[in-house]
Amino acid sequence: MTAYIIRRLIAAVLLLLVVSVATFAIFFLVPRLAGASAEDLASRYTGKTANAEQVRVMAEKLGFTDPLPVQYGRFAKGLVLGADYSTGPTTEHCPAPCFGYSFITQNPVWPDLLDRMPVTLSLAAGAGVLWLVGGVATGVLSAVRKGSVFDRAAMGVALAGVSLPIFFTGLLALSLFSYKLGWTEPGGSYTPLTESPLAWARALLLPWVTLALLYAAGYARLTRAGMLETMNEDYIRTARAKGLPERTVVLKHGLRAALTPIITIFGLDVGLLIGGAVLTESTFSLPGLGKYAIDAITNNDLPKVLGVTLVAAFFVVIANLVVDILYAVVDPRVRLS
């Protein structure tokens, strides 16, 4: 077991390494291939009236004149060991994990990321609970009443749900519930949970529901399919034959088996969402990691983009890891493969 976990951990670290190299390449290699010089890149980060000499000095300061592997090495070293940065009169140590300083505001990136994380975590957690409960419940009911009006309606809604872009439903919901009816908060509101749990939930209610709607649809379809499959298994027939109440058969025997793959997917979805709720956060103007990434890309603030991408990949990798390990715990056969 321990060996398996260690193997998975090493794979996870390697994966993060590859992601960081790829991100780095996109921002530093692609522009170079497209013909941009170190000065072209640096000129974005000088004041609006900088002259050629000032741009050159900036290119050197930001390290753009070094070969790319050296630049990457410096970045990776900062992540693991921290790095020293000049503040002008002195130098300062930026402790690991050091994602560097914003090229624009010169604020350190890591505290920013920590600051944005709770927003995205709140969004993902709240929506996740909603869609898991809603999706699974709908799926079970549909499976039990297969072919009924409820089943057809639910599955119809589910298919519609996965076909709706969040930036459409989100805008509609904002327009109706927040602007016209005034039931919910307008876009852009966010209060930390620690400040006021009520305001926190109120502000996130609309994003949660819209996001959950999108995902619940898929989960309902999955649950229904899984349930229909397991309900045909022999052991279910045995359970029924024993005279167990249908409720027990469905929930204890049927659902349990159908739920395993759902939980796997749930883990992965939540992991992906933490790093990629870009659309939801943009639609509702939530100050989370996704919005941070978009703003950073708009400003060409590379250290911020690198930071967000790595943190996002980290969450996906962690989610993968947790799911894999849980699987290994449940099913010893996995460890052998």
Partner: protein
């Protein structure tokens, strides 16, 4: 109703500043009550003033900031040599001494400027402010490696002789710059490499706010700028929020200007723009610090609701939205083809792209009317034919040898919906006379550095028209025009804001203006430059921008200052003190 208000705004704008004092309290709120006069005057001290910023402050460090709102706000915690008078309207564009006892005294043909610093000035830690602290502050602002965001006027005009930064200065007191002398603790003398008659405008830059060398932490100084003003930092979470409290070392006796009404100032950074609007309207926020006006949807909401509208001001600014016409790109190298563009453009559509009449007035030339000395000239019938003058355009096309029109490209900043709307409107309007535009969006972060502002790129990619905007660094001909019409500021390496103006005569006139110490004469030269640029048809003026500002009724001493084109932050107070 709307028409009447618009006229009122115009009248007030025209004679702005002549009426001071003015109308009553919260109950007397009317549209534009904060334009040209003080709305809700009060001397009540106390309370908390709450600001919010939708963006990220470039920096709180006086050496590293280049936003008008930041220059407006910084006066709360720092005192520069001179500053814009906190007065409504045009009076707010006048300079008054702040740290200095008087405005600068020129000598040596405006190449040497001397200031005397007031006695009894202290930093927040109680130590005395001397002229050496001012010199050190200017020195560090020269270091563009550490402070890239700030303006480069001192770099460009001081007689540096190779001096780069106090951080690389071998002299023990780090005051090795020869271009600034401090013969005694209260005198500071600036030596310029070339004459400049408007040096007082440089002396109002935040870079002249004194910085004690012992407390200078370079890029980290912005976390706790050592105050010389009435407020000092209590706490500061970068990129999130900061709080200012009263500075007990600030002596009102040395400061005839600042009223310092509120006890506390709280600023939230990185808030959502729509959220800011909503909070302003609901009274949970006092000022949107960026001063660039409410969001478009909020604007419609405010203007259509009389109860909200009475708490709003349409503030004229020194911002011009315009389109550069690039003479490097054929057939626009022919003046008649350029004139055809001037005639064919739809000015109403341009204005509409920026929010209609509430977003600004149709511009006929470059200098915005609120800049002292600006003269309106209308060479291409903008006023009589706001929808475009197709007949004249066709005549010009004939003369240009392109009777059926021509094709060219138009660039704009991809992230800016208003510029996109402008480009689309231009495409529509010019098509009527056969000028076919292909629209080219570029990322705004690189627009000037790598695309429109890089002469080679613009030429090779045939960017005949380039949308852009410009706002004066300060309300004066130099502050507005120099960076956009002087051909000598164009750098082949990119990063230019002058995209199309290369007229030797204009360069010559600029040199003349730099030498002219008489304000009236100087203003006339700038107006002449403006007209000359229009004659060459290398710029199509779009809109002299206005911003719709919302003032919660609880705010006191509210007025728009021409110095910054937004509310003056130095005088604001709050009515409901016991909150």
């Amino acid at each position: 109703m709307i028409a009447t208000d618009a006229t009122l705004a115009l009248v007030l704008g025209a004679c702005g500043g002549t009426t001071t004092g003015g109308r009553g309290t919260g109950t007397g709120a009317t549209y534009n009550a904060g334009v040209g006069q003080v709305y809700n005057p009060s001397t009540t001290k106390g309370g908390t003033l709450r600001f919010a910023n939708a963006g990220d402050w470039d920096s709180l460090d006086p050496a590293d900031t280049y936003y008008a709102y930041s220059w407006n706000f910084i006066r709360l915690y720092g005192r520069q040599l001179v500053m814009f008078a906190p007065e409504p309207g045009a009076a707010g564009a006048k300079l008054v001494p702040d740290l200095a006892e008087t405005l600068g005294v020129p000598s040596n043909d405006s190449k040497t400027w001397t200031y005397k610093i007031r006695k009894g000035m202290r930093f927040e830690d109680g130590s005395t402010v001397t002229s050496k602290d001012v010199k050190y502050a200017v020195e560090r602002s020269l270091d563009k490696q550490t402070f890239p965001n700030g303006p480069t006027y001192f770099n460009d005009f001081l007689d540096l002789r190779g001096y780069t930064s106090p951080y690389q200065d071998p002299t023990p007191d780090k005051l090795g710059l020869k271009a600034i002398e401090t013969p005694d603790d209260s005198t500071i003398v600036f030596h310029l490499a070339k004459p400049f008659s408007g040096f007082d405008y440089f002396a109002q830059l935040p870079a002249t706010i004194p910085v004690p060398r012992a407390k200078d932490t370079g890029t980290k100084y912005k976390q706790h700028v050592v105050s010389t003003g009435p407020y000092k930092f209590e706490s500061n979470e970068l990129g999130k929020k900061f709080t200012l409290v009263r500075n007990d070392q600030w002596n009102p006796a040395t400061d005839p200007i600042r009223t310092a009404l509120p006890d506390r100032i709280e600023v939230t950074i990185g808030a959502n723009a729509d959220d800011i609007d909503n909070r302003l309207i609901s009274g949970n926020l006092d000022v949107d610090v960026a001063g660039t006006g409410v969001q478009p949807a909020t604007q419609g909401r405010i203007l259509s609701d009389p109860n909200l509208k009475k708490n709003a001001d349409a503030a004229a600014t020194t911002r011009l939205w315009y389109t550069s016409i690039n003479p490097d790109v054929a057939p626009l190298d022919n003046i008649h083809c350029r004139k055809a563009v001037e005639y064919a453009a739809d000015h109403t559509a341009y204005q509409r792209a920026y929010g209609g009449p509430a977003g600004g007035d149709i511009a006929t030339n470059l200098l915005p009317p609120l800049i002292p000395g600006a003269k309106q000239v209308d060479l291409y019938n903008f006023g009589s034919k706001p929808g475009g003058d197709a007949d004249s355009a066709r005549q010009e096309l004939q003369q240009c040898g392109q009777p059926s029109g021509f094709a060219t490209n138009m660039s704009y900043r991809a992230e800016r919906p208003k510029e996109k709307a402008t480009a689309e409107a231009m495409q529509q309007a010019l098509a009527k006379v056969g000028i076919r535009l292909t629209l080219k969006p570029f990322p705004q972060g690189d627009y000037f550095k790598l695309y429109a502002g890089k002469p080679d790129f613009a030429k090779n990619n045939k960017l005949g028209l380039m949308t852009t905007g410009w706002s004066a660094d300060w309300p004066d001909g130099f502050g507005f025009l120099q960076q956009i019409v002087d051909s000598r500021v164009i750098r082949a390496s990119g990063g230019n804001t002058n995209l199309s103006v290369k007229i030797p005569e204009v360069d010559h006139l600029i040199d003349q203006a730099l030498l002219t110490t008489d304000t009236n004469a100087r203003e006339q030269i700038w107006a002449q430059i403006d007209k000359r640029v229009m004659e060459e048809a290398v710029a199509l003026p779009g809109v002299w921008a206005k911003t719709l500002l919302y003032r919660p009724p609880t705010l006191t001493n509210v007025f728009v200052t021409n110095g910054f084109g937004m509310y003056d932050y130095l005088t604001l107070g709050v009515q409901n003190v016991q909150k």
